[in-house]
């Protein structure tokens, strides 16, 4: 079975990512996934376009997050790229696109097989409703620490 640890690793964690806006953040993060061989070149345009039509900002309390993702046809192998943003960036609100949210963390999803990945995504999204957990994740100082915080937060829900 696909486990969360198969989708996350230190290489997929970006600390203090600098970006001008939502589009810039998505471009930089997609480039990383392309470079690491997780997604095709086409992923970048596809995810930018999808974010415009169906934005992914979520109001998760103090630490607001966004979860950009797009169709699996652009994905080579599954992974989750996590970025802690150096400065807050505005993303549109998933539920109400006329509303803008100041996002602190971005979880970019490369979904290959939606059915197989649902249990893992469900676990991942479980942390979004845990404000304490997400704060701990956000306050991590190193890639390793951030990765472990995510895994620990998920484990604490078992």
């Amino acid at each position: 079975m696909l486990e969360i640890s198969n989708l996350l690793n230190e290489d997929l964690i970006l600390l203090d990512l600098e970006a001008e806006d939502c589009e810039d953040a998505i471009k930089k993060m997609s480039s990383k996934l392309i470079e690491k061989g997780y997604v095709k070149e086409s992923y970048k345009q596809a995810i930018l376009k999808r974010e415009q039509t169906f934005p992914t900002g979520l109001d998760t309390g103090e630490i607001k997050i966004a979860i950009p993702h797009t169709d699996s046809t652009h994905v080579i192998k599954p992974g989750i790229l996590v970025a802690k943003l150096k400065n807050e960036i505005e993303f549109k609100d998933m539920g109400n696109p006329s509303n803008r949210l100041k996002i602190k963390m971005v979880f970019m999803l490369a979904v290959k097989d939606p059915k197989a990945q649902v249990p893992v995504l469900t676990k991942l999204m479980g942390i979004f409703s845990d404000q304490e957990g997400i704060k701990k994740i956000y306050e991590s100082k190193t890639e390793k620490e951030l990765l472990n915080s995510i895994l620990n937060t998920i484990d604490s829900k078992k």
Binding site: M94, G95, V118, P119, T122
Partner: protein, 91 residues
């Protein structure tokens, strides 16, 4: 059995995850219902067979059926209230 449909932009991540969350919450309470995730484009074709629509993205149309907000199932904020609404609609 009542049919619940969750729709998002592509049907890949968000709607599937919310559907799975709702499914497990209903199971925990012993409520039987089918929960399905679809992409918003296919929603028009099946909406007349749906009992409750779980809305995530603001679609082009509003449907004349019981609708709840799906986002709280992701963020946890206001989840209990939406779940209570859902249970009412399923009665």
């Amino acid at each position: 059995m009542k049919k619940i449909v969750v729709a998002c932009g592509s049907g890949v991540a968000t709607s599937q995850t919310i559907a799975s969350k709702i499914d497990s919450m209903l199971q925990d309470e012993g409520i039987k219902a089918s929960v399905e995730a679809v992409d918003i484009k296919s929603l028009d074709n099946i909406i007349d067979q749906v009992d409750v629509y779980v809305k995530i993205v603001s679609g082009p149309t509003n449907y004349d059926i019981p609708t709840i907000n799906g986002i709280p199932f992701l963020t946890g904020m206001g989840r209990d209230a939406e779940f209570e609404k859902l249970k009412e609609y399923l009665k």
